[in-house]
Amino acid sequence: MYIIGISCYYHDASAALLKDGIIVAAAQEERFTRKKHDTGFPINSIRYCLSSQNITIKDIEYIGFYEKPFIKFERVLFQHLEMFPLSLKTFLSSIPSWINEKLRVVRVIRKKLGYRKDILFIEHHMAHAASSFLISPFEKAAILTTDGVGEWTTTTYGIGKKNKIHLMKEIKFPNSLGLLYSTITAYLGFSVNNSEYKVMGLSAHGTMDRKSNPYYEKLKKVIDIKEDGSYRLNMDYFVYHYKDRMPSQKLCELLNGQIRKSESDVEQRHKDIAAALQLILEDVMTKMLNYIYKITKQENIVLSGGVALNSVYNGKILKNTKFKKVWIHPDPGDGGTSIGVASYIYHTILGKKRNFVLSNPYLGPKFSEEEIKKILDKNKIKYSDFKDEKELIKKTAKLIYDNNVIGWFQEGMEWGPRALGARSILSNPCNPKMQEILNLKVKHREKFRPFAPVVCEEDALKYFDCDNPVPEATDFMLMVYPIKKKYHKKIPAVTHVDGSGRLQTIRKFQNQLYYNLIKEFGKLSGIPILINTSFNIRGEPIICSPYDAYKCMMGTGIDYLVMNKFLIKREDNLRDAWDSEKYAHD
């Protein structure tokens, strides 16, 4: 039985295909359309899902949608009723899209896909909960979902047992931890629903101490936090419920200054505000999780919703709470809900036993040797090929060791926002200048942002102060842990200012080639760790196809591209070179 899950029209549209309870394909629409966080109907993702299994839409038994659109529309109308006449501008800009597509989901699905069977709708936070619990390794677990907003709900907790989920309590819009984080992101001059992770990275540069941070007590005025972790926002400090921006003038006054312009310098004040926000988020999450532990009496916790992308806090969960194990979906944000709704239909609504754990994130398009060769030849790209896998690993490891920047294109494209060794840029973490080289040659990103390390799972505890055993969520680059002090100077390019690293662990069964490459680099350098950063130009989604990879290399300073068994040297193809920085945006 095939089921398709769809998520779209808010941010990060995606589709996932379930075959007899197993996720066989999933992809975000942005990777095909090349529009970052594309919200549109995920027609390309659906086409990919179908073609990956050689099936047509007629083979699909159910299509699931990740929210109840009419309940969400009710919330939008209630916002306007509450805020009349201040919300006129947002009313005029948002209502047409509701009338044209968001309230016509059934019609759109039937028309665009030619689909005639059942379409089911589940609540947004149930889709989040299902995306984290039903494909987790746990039979039983407590569940926490925290995001910007679904229909009305912004936070829920509950419990999952076998194939059932019970969401017990909720917090409703406009009170939202996700929207609080987004508001400060906007205040700090970064883009909302995109750059929250930059604020998280910036926080380590600020004063991460509750007593000495000058903005911690100030920022606490915007949120009333109860002992059980429930919270309510003081809406005097926000305008997102009726305007197309988020911080109010009162918030600017509270934080001693106007909204930072995106091109202006990041000052110590901004760093301290980011740190204060991170501290408050951690206060709320710790209180909430301890309360949920008390209520559910479960040793396992699964998290979902955009707030679960806060890897800095995720790495502290097991230390700060009584939970023994944690699992987080590779894409805990809205993109992941397509898997959630498909799994919920199969396991919970249809009552089928759980038979799948998501441990391998390579669910996207995969290209064969022949397909890649055809593309290279067609575009007259100069390349050489490796004799075998052994040569590929040895030569690539040596290139990295010699401080070259490598574009790495193997396996199926990763599911979720992180590059995990299928569409990655790899380089040498032991070179103190590598952060600068990567920024200069490729990423052109803010200096305060760290690069991430990847390490084989069995080596993680040697170099990092991880939880033991290392949680599976670390495989998806969702946990930040301290790097052991004696290695700070040995891997300077991945050691953040606070001595931490947002590491990815890799297990051999997930991606053998990637795993062997790291080990081989370890033989040369003495440190089996690589820098792994996403294979994209700033402001664009991670690459999907072989041609995207080539184009990205030629627009940046990536030295080599290792694609399947082919090696492409940038210098050999300079006729196609161009400057991506001219087109880069936030």
Binding site: F78, F84, P85, K164
Partner: protein, 81 residues
Amino acid sequence: MISKFLYGIKEGFKSFGENIAITVNSLLLSIVYFIGVGTTSLFARILKKRFLDTKISKQSKTYWQNLNLKKKKFEEYYRQF
């Protein structure tokens, strides 16, 4: 040359049509906003009805609200509300 000219005219008309649509939509939606939303909102204010829960209560011990969301009857999942 002619095809370029015709293409230009076509694009011009398209843009003109889009602008007309935006103007008409905005006008109609403004009427809906002031008459529909405005009237309801004013009545609600007279009756002290609030649509968003924004009240901060230092006395209450929790802001958690009951949800109790579980598996429902199959037919419920066809509904978009």
